[in-house]
């Protein structure tokens, strides 16, 4: 009996959690126009969330590109299709690895720092103080960070893909010796701007919304103690990563199954 009651309690708690999260999301969306008017706040957050992630995204993109070049070459060589290496690297990055890996790295780097910052502000009663000073903390603190995350993610994903393609070029053409002309020509022939690059950009925007929201919400809900904040940062990474991978499956099925 206790087990059934426990399941019931858990279900109710989960549904309530989803409801609270939805209300929070709507509250954040409602504050976006006002946050956009204070663009200085958004710009500062883009700096913290975007600029500070450039190094990790760039370096990761480069290495992923290297690996794709190597692995792609060895696999394609079996079927005599090494010339298609450029196409393989570009499609893998632009359609999937760019948006997804960037989102996962973003969750780990920028997401955790957002969660910790918001959690500590809540623990230090700064958000409460802001409320008592008649300033909506969601509009002043949360919304600018949300907008910044949604702006920064597609930029970082594009950077990742571009650097990755260059990495694949370095390994494939310079090191292994695949024909340079074929590398680019096959790529250009096979990668469509709208359905491949465009869909990749859409994916990265959706992931940006998801990861940033998860990070902000987890920080906002953290219990105001050191353990609470540390648990919250771990939760951000886990929840955001799983959400990104699930959304990726859904988006890929919607976008790429037709062609």
């Amino acid at each position: 009996m206790n087990a059934i009651a426990a399941i019931g309690a858990w279900s109710i708690a989960t549904v309530r959690g989803v409801g609270d999260a939805t209300r929070f999301f709507l509250a954040v969306l409602g504050q976006i126009p006002r946050a956009l008017l204070r663009f200085g706040l958004v710009r500062d957050q883009v700096h913290f969330v975007g600029n500070y992630s450039v190094v990790i995204i760039g370096v990761s993109g480069l290495f992923v590109g290297f690996v794709l070049g190597l692995q792609g070459y060895y696999t394609l060589q079996r079927y005599g299709s090494e010339q298609a290496l450029g196409l393989l690297v570009a499609l893998s990055l632009v359609r999937e690895l760019g948006p997804v890996v960037t989102a996962l790295l973003f969750a780990g780097r920028a997401g955790t720092s957002l969660t910790a910052e918001i959690g500590l502000m809540k623990a230090g009663e700064q958000l409460s103080a802001m409320e008592m000073m008649a300033v909506n903390p969601i509009g002043r603190v949360i919304a600018p960070r949300f907008i910044a995350g949604v702006i920064a993610m597609p930029i970082l994903a594009a950077l990742f893909s571009a650097v990755g393609i260059i990495g694949g070029y370095i390994v494939g053409v310079q090191l292994i010796g695949v024909d340079e002309g074929a590398f680019w020509a096959q790529m250009q022939g096979g990668v469509d701007v709208w359905s491949d690059v465009g869909n990749g950009v859409i994916k990265s925007i959706v992931f940006g919304i998801a990861v940033t929201f998860v990070a902000l919400r987890t920080g906002f809900e953290a219990s105001p103690t050191p353990e609470g904040v540390s648990r919250a940062t771990t939760r951000t990474v886990v929840t955001a990563s799983l959400t990104v991978l699930a959304l990726d499956f859904i988006l890929t099925a919607l976008m790429f199954s037709g062609s």
Partner: protein, 278 residues
């Protein structure tokens, strides 16, 4: 500044709390509290830890809604207000949080300037002058370029006080302003509270369990115990009171109406000895 939609009452007590009930989940915190805070006075609300003193402040500020009973500020009921009206009322209030709650990513100057920049259209020079004046009132004008991480706890609380009075509020709420301060800072803070209240003509509500300082500066004192007002009166009346609860508190006695021991079974039973055995 915008005036609230309904005209506030200008005579009578500034804050009127009637038969207030509040529970945190299943735990009842306040069970029928009635208090009145008169204008221009310093009122101390005292009680043991967990007695609901901070909850009363949050109910006045509208951060919590009571289960039953009313909280009126300037004649307007807080619990009945929508968010917009609440924000208008809050502009006339200042709140000092227990450890200051300064914004750690801004300097001292920017912290005090925050309410001015958010709620007024004053020019940068005017804002600068006002901020320095407020900081001067708390004695920290020279520290205005430091970051909150670079100043001591006592100084942080004074900066928070400067921030709380930035808009010259009518009602200032203090959450444990004396907690953890050294004797000099204690004296400074107590004097500041009294001086600012008189200078601004405001009403100050202190939530504290520091008996000595509060009795020295308060005009009226409320004692909260078991969710109700256990005693009230002027500091003189209370220091002469014979009520056992008041006596325990004022004298600082370890045991009395507020028990020393957390409720438990008998000591002998806990140690595994049978009742009555030797």
């Amino acid at each position: 500044m915008n005036e609230p939609a309904a005209t506030p009452v200008t005579d009578g007590p500034l804050v009127d709390i009637a038969d207030l009930h509040f529970s945190y989940g299943a735990r009842p915190i306040l069970s029928g509290v009635t208090m009145q805070f008169r204008r221009g006075k310093v009122i101390a609300v005292m009680g043991g830890s967990g007695s609901g003193k901070t909850t009363i402040l949050r109910l006045i500020g509208g951060q919590l809604r009571p289960d039953s009973g009313t909280v009126r500020v300037a004649g307007q009921e807080i619990a009945a207000m929508n968010e917009k009206a609440l924000y208008v009322v809050r502009r006339r209030m200042g709140m000092l949080f227990q450890f200051g709650a300064l914004f750690t990513d801004m300097s001292v100057f920017e912290n005090v300037a925050f309410p001015l920049r958010e709620h007024t259209d004053l020019s940068d020079e005017l804002v600068r002058d006002l901020v320095l004046m407020k900081l001067n009132a708390v004695g920290l004008r020279g520290a205005h370029e430091l970051m909150p991480g670079e100043i001591s706890g006592g100084m942080a609380r004074r900066v928070a006080l400067a921030r709380a009075i930035a808009l010259d509020p009518q009602l200032i709420l203090y959450d444990e302003p004396f907690a953890g301060l050294d004797p000099i800072s204690l004296g400074v803070t107590a004097n500041l509270i009294r001086a600012l209240t008189d200078a601004l003509g405001a009403t100050s509500v202190l939530v504290t369990h520091d008996v000595a300082e509060s009795l020295a500066i308060a005009d009226y004192v409320y004692f909260i115990a078991s969710g109700k007002v256990a005693a009230e009166g002027t500091p003189d009346e209370l220091s002469r009171s014979t009520d056992p609860f008041v006596r325990q508190f004022v004298d600082g006695a370890p045991d009395g109406p507020v028990p020393f021991h957390y409720p438990a079974q008998s000591f002998a039973a806990d140690l595994g000895l049978r009742e009555g055995s030797r």
